[in-house]
């Protein structure tokens, strides 16, 4: 019905169509290689279209300031219904000419730029052939533009508030950076206290402990942050600017419904269990510890001691536990272990400390001194090819191939960071894919590392991948940067205009399109038995189009009808 009416109104429009065809000479770049006068004459006499009036002109430089003024004036005085520009690449000047259209009554989607420079005058040497080609492209542009439809921006109201999931250091930093008088933050933590795994760090990183403490205090005092402890996130629907969320708190499962414009996921990570590695076997009673448990011991006891209460006289620190199993380097363990080694040496110079490492990975410029400090503190650093731990017995192969065995009073392992247990739960809840390692997948590794394929959901801290405290906080601030610049209180969001729509009459609700959409822009309307595009989320790539068996999809501004007209003219 709707489709029919739309086609009808477009037909009406075509009956009265007046198409402006303006060809840019681009100095000699087009005019010198293409016989523009011939094209002007040919196109003016084009009798392909009854009831279509063509106005065909050429101009020196349409992209220049006088050129744009000229074009604006021409559109206004002629009252064009459609406009074709024969010029350069749309990558250069599509937005320029769309801008000109916007100053007039002509909808910018009823204009088409045709690239007769990069595709004709610059790459075809013979004038005759270049002219024919340019004419063919322009005919294609006219045929296509007549099939284009008006499209309009649909500004959306937004909610500037933010849900932050996870009360570790990344979540805290995000909440603090985002909260303001016109932006509330809902900070949700599943346990009964803030701080996350950073809390355990204060043993050998007292300064970091202090920082975390201060930040927790700031959260408590911040009137724009609403804290939910012992709370889980149960239900999420929506998209950037408009999310509806259900929180479930406490033993009584008290439900709070909130609405926000964005979600920051800061659900953290876990430690790899060393016993999953073939190279580590030990029991609970062995004097074998992980780096985190030692940090806790340090905090509680101001140093390390054996279960007997005695101080160990020899300690082995073993790097890279789980690195091969996980197939990534966590990037922070070397620095932590060296700091720990120094702490052990300052606890008592009677503790012999040996560090076993494969590669020293200190990617932060300020961390390099950790290595020098460890060396200076008398830590023995042994580079190995291979190592295995049985209780406190360590057998290893040095880098030169020599095999050795040594026994220690205490062994401390540096396990890799791995995705936290509830990562998968949140991936499903938020429809964010996981990467090959089980961490949340960013939308683009380099150009958008905190964004996810569900726009409006951001991933920060170690939920994104292994990283240290300062990087975690920086990721948190990066998400804040995106939210603060995109969700501005009182302002509206303007989603992509040239998106895809699904024609209800043809849709069988098979759900193929739903499967292939990486943006989660399509949902199933079970009541009507069809799939529906959320135009606020769709980016207009058209991938769904190829998946539709019933021809129900229409990629606005790149419809098949439009493309067929271009094909027809190309093959004339």
């Amino acid at each position: 019905m709707k489709e029919f009416e739309m086609q009808k109104s477009e037909q009406d429009k075509k009956l009265r169509a007046k198409v402006g065809v303006y060809i840019c000479e681009c100095g000699p770049n087009i005019a010198g290689k293409v016989d523009l006068d011939r094209i002007l004459a040919d196109i003016s006499q084009l009798d392909d279209y009854q009831d279509v009036e063509l106005v065909v002109r050429k101009y020196g430089f349409l992209c220049s300031a006088p050129g744009k003024d000229f074009l604006e004036e021409e559109i206004k005085t002629n009252g064009f219904t459609h406009l074709v520009i024969g010029a350069c690449s749309p990558r250069d000047h599509d937005s320029t000419f769309m801008g000109v259209c916007k100053k007039t009554d002509l909808n910018p989607y009823l204009y088409r730029i045709v690239n007769i420079r990069e595709h004709c005058s610059w790459v075809i040497d013979e004038m005759e052939k270049a002219t024919e080609k340019a004419e063919s492209y322009i005919r294609g542009g006219i045929a296509r533009v007549l099939r284009q439809s008006e499209l309009f921006e649909k500004p959306l109201d937004i909610n500037p508030d933010v849900l932050v999931i996870g009360g570790g250091i990344a979540g805290i930093e995000a909440a603090l950076s985002l909260s303001g008088d016109d932006r509330r933050v809902f900070l949700v933590e599943k346990t009964d206290k803030l701080g996350g795994s950073a809390l355990g760090l204060s043993g050998i990183f007292p300064r970091q402990g202090e920082v975390v403490g201060k930040k927790i205090e700031s959260v408590m005092q911040n009137g724009n942050i609403r804290l939910f402890l012992n709370t889980r996130v149960d239900n999420v629907i929506g998209f950037l600017g408009n999310f509806e969320i259900e929180l479930v708190s406490g033993e009584n499962a008290e439900i709070t419904d909130i609405m926000t414009g964005a979600i920051v996921v800061a659900t953290g990570s876990d430690l790899f269990d060393p016993r999953e590695s073939d190279n580590c076997s030990y029991s609970e009673s062995d004097e074998v510890y992980t780096s985190l448990s030692i940090e806790k011991m340090f905090k509680a006891e101001n140093g390390v001691k054996l279960r007997s209460g005695k101080m160990p006289s020899s300690v082995a620190l073993i790097h890279c536990i789980g690195r091969e199993e996980k197939n990534y380097c966590s990037g922070i363990c070397c620095s932590c272990m060296m700091k720990l080694a120094c702490s052990l040496r300052s606890q008592s110079s009677d503790i012999q400390v040996t560090e076993f490492y494969r590669d020293i990975c200190l990617p932060k410029k300020e961390d390099q001194e950790r290595f020098t400090e460890a060396e200076a503190a008398g830590v023995s650093l042994i580079r190995i090819k291979d190592i295995s731990v049985k209780g406190t017995e360590v057998s290893f192969q040095r880098i030169n191939g020599e095999k050795c065995e040594e026994s220690f009073d205490m062994v401390i392992l540096a396990p890799a960071l791995e995705p936290s247990a509830d990562t998968e739960y949140f991936a499903n809840l938020l429809t964010v894919p996981l990467d090959e390692f089980g961490f949340f997948q960013e939308v683009h590794r380099m150009t958008n590392p905190v964004g996810t394929s569900t726009d409006g959901v951001f991933v920060v801290g170690t939920a994104h991948g292994p990283k240290g405290v300062s990087d975690s906080m920086q990721f948190a601030r990066a998400s804040a940067g995106q939210i603060l610049t995109r969700l501005i209180p009182g302002e509206k969001l303007i989603p992509e205009v040239a998106v895809t729509e699904i024609l209800e009459a043809y849709c069988t609700g098979c759900g193929n399109c739903l499967e292939v959409c990486v943006y989660g822009a399509i949902y199933s309307d079970d009541g009507r038995g069809i799939s529906v595009v959320n135009e606020a989320v769709c980016r207009g790539c058209g991938n769904c189009f190829g998946s539709c068996p019933s021809g129900a999809l229409r990629t606005k501004h790149f419809t098949n009808t439009q493309l067929y007209r271009e094909v027809d003219e190309a093959l004339r």
Partner: protein
Amino acid sequence: MEESAEFTPAIVGFLCNWCTYAAADLAGSSKLELPPSFTVIRVMCSSRIDHNLLLSTFFKGADGILVAGCHPGDCHYGEGNYYARRRFALLKQVMATLDLDPDRLQLSWVSAAEGKRYAEVVNEFAEKIKELGPNPIKNSTRF
């Protein structure tokens, strides 16, 4: 033999906006020679190209079709080109049943920096289509 020497194939190239169209621009600004029989049609992503569009383009008389997009892994929309690749493999099989040489359809990955390679791909493809001769199902009423 003489006929095929004079045969100028009609080739349509569907190029993705982000990578290959940019490469075409680079080839243009580098003034690399391209065959006049090659017509570019811009789409946002190679995954937008469906079987109907390609088959119709053949029925309408294209002697060859080049679809070109970002290299695998480089898609502006995440993974569109992987879908394009899969759909392609399928269509090539269909083409054989239509007496249409599957070589008339080519999928190439050309990045935005590869202006020179773009020109090579297009020129080589045009040569190949020239050798294959005219499209046998052009304007065919069989279908």
